[in-house]
């Protein structure tokens, strides 16, 4: 069962707002899932807590060489607001 405090902390970290009805519904869903997955807590395991790579080359990082990447124009093409090659974000909507 998720507590209201835990829910509010998670929502703040997730950068999500919920109205009361949404919060009530989601708290129930989350509690159901948490109860279902809590079975893992009781299982003992000696396996490493480090992620065992699924593929043989997962740790095989590419060399640090500058190559072709997104152009500045492409990178900005989906931005809501861009100017002079930069993303633009208004600092405040009031008092500025």
């Amino acid at each position: 069962m998720i507590t209201e405090k835990d829910f509010d902390n998670a929502a703040a970290n997730a950068l999500l707002y919920f109205d009361d009805e949404e919060k009530k519904r989601l708290m129930k869903d989350m509690s159901d899932v948490i109860e279902f997955v809590s079975v893992v807590k009781a299982v003992k395991s000696n396996k490493p807590t480090a992620y065992k790579p699924l593929t043989i080359s997962a740790s095989d990082l590419r060399e640090d060489i500058i190559g072709n990447t997104l152009s500045n124009e492409d990178a900005l093409s989906n931005a809501d607001c861009a100017d002079d090659g930069y993303f633009v974000v208004k600092r405040r909507s009031k008092g500025e």
Binding site: L26, M30, V37
Partner: protein, 489 residues
Amino acid sequence: MSSILHLSNLLARKEISSVELTKKYLSAINNINPSINAYISVTEEMALLQAQKADDMRKQLKGDAPLLLGIPMALKDNLAVRGFQTTCCSKTLENFKSTYTATAVQKLFNNGAILLGKTNMDEFAMGSYSNTGIFGATFNPYDTAKSAGGSSGGSAAAVSSKIAPYTLGTDTGGSARQPASFCGVVGYKPTYGTVSRYGAVALASSFDQISPIASTVKDCAIVYDTIKGFDINDMTTIKQNYAPCLDKINGNVKGVKIGIATKMFENCSKDVVDSVYRAIETYRGLGAEIVDITIPTIELALPIYYIIGCAEISSNFGRYDGIRYGYKTNKSYKDIDDMISKTRSEAFGDDVKRRIMLGIYFLSKNNFNEYYLKAIQLRNELTSDFENVFKQCDLIISPTTPTTALAFDFNPDNVVDKYKADICVVIANVCGLPAISLPCGTDSNGLPVGMQLIGPKNSDSRVLNTAFAFENTANLKLNPTLGGVTYDI
């Protein structure tokens, strides 16, 4: 018949041109799609241009044409094509245009594939019914009152209703195999790391895999052979020699050991169990050896999947801030955090929010060790168990899903009851294994039943060959109510 091999033969024999073929599919989409909502966009102009190029190229190649040259296909709408929208069926990316093309898609284009359009899916591939996206539900071609499955429901329904010869979906927790099962087609999730995920919108990165959906096993092999390989843009792709799987498909399964874990048949409907056991008898008749197996940690697969999956989702979805791309709130805001919170709250659907919230809960300071780290340990445990099981057998057979296609009003009070239907399919994603779903019969209402074959890592050829052996022997004739392009030549 509209298999890739069949269409390729027709094109090679000049019985039809690629332009003519593409026009037939575009016309069929026009007629059929309004009934099933498999496509959310149709790229007619690009398709006809590509088809003309394919016809020109075929004239130059004189017999050495790639099998996919001039054959149309469709893509799940979480796969990037430069200059075209990739919405993931979310308000968040409703107006997003890709600035590059996914590696797997580029490989198809390099081999002459023709893009018919993008297919419907659950929002950001989170769901099992293809009904959580902004474009509405996809309906099952066998019974439009039923779901096509998800999250690649549009891709599976398009192949099933013959308005695409093949499609690419993605499979993070069964999202290609489950809809393939519901729609009576073949869905193939390859070994993790053999197909680049570059250009596939990330969901849970250590599970995500681009997956072909087609009408036959050989077609899946053709598409897989085309898209697999190391990619410098995806560090999880494996550096190895990739021999063609198609060459190894001969239908010979004599001596192949097929394992049955009775746990994977629990809670399945009688029609599903009976169909899969009939398939097992077919394999026995073909000379395969059937062995009973036990996988001690199998019941932990779903909890592991949801803990790690949600954790990865919460991390990956931090990118949707409304600044660099995607939906941005129109409301006033006091600071950037407020703007991002309003943006995300307005744009994400319920399933997306639930998984992000769960992920953050599992990764929080108080829960990290007992949920996330434990799930990683148990993922390693489960992977070891499967490695041991594959010392006793070559493949595992199971139902793909406990039931045939479900009605849209399946809405249990406890959300976990929805998740439980994924028990057989998530295993392959948690352990990075190749797995295929193919039709093995129908239920009493004529809806397709899917069976699944899972193999050890890098046994893709074996999985495909074993699937083909059944398909070739059973020769099932499934007939969806809605059907598009067929060639009975």
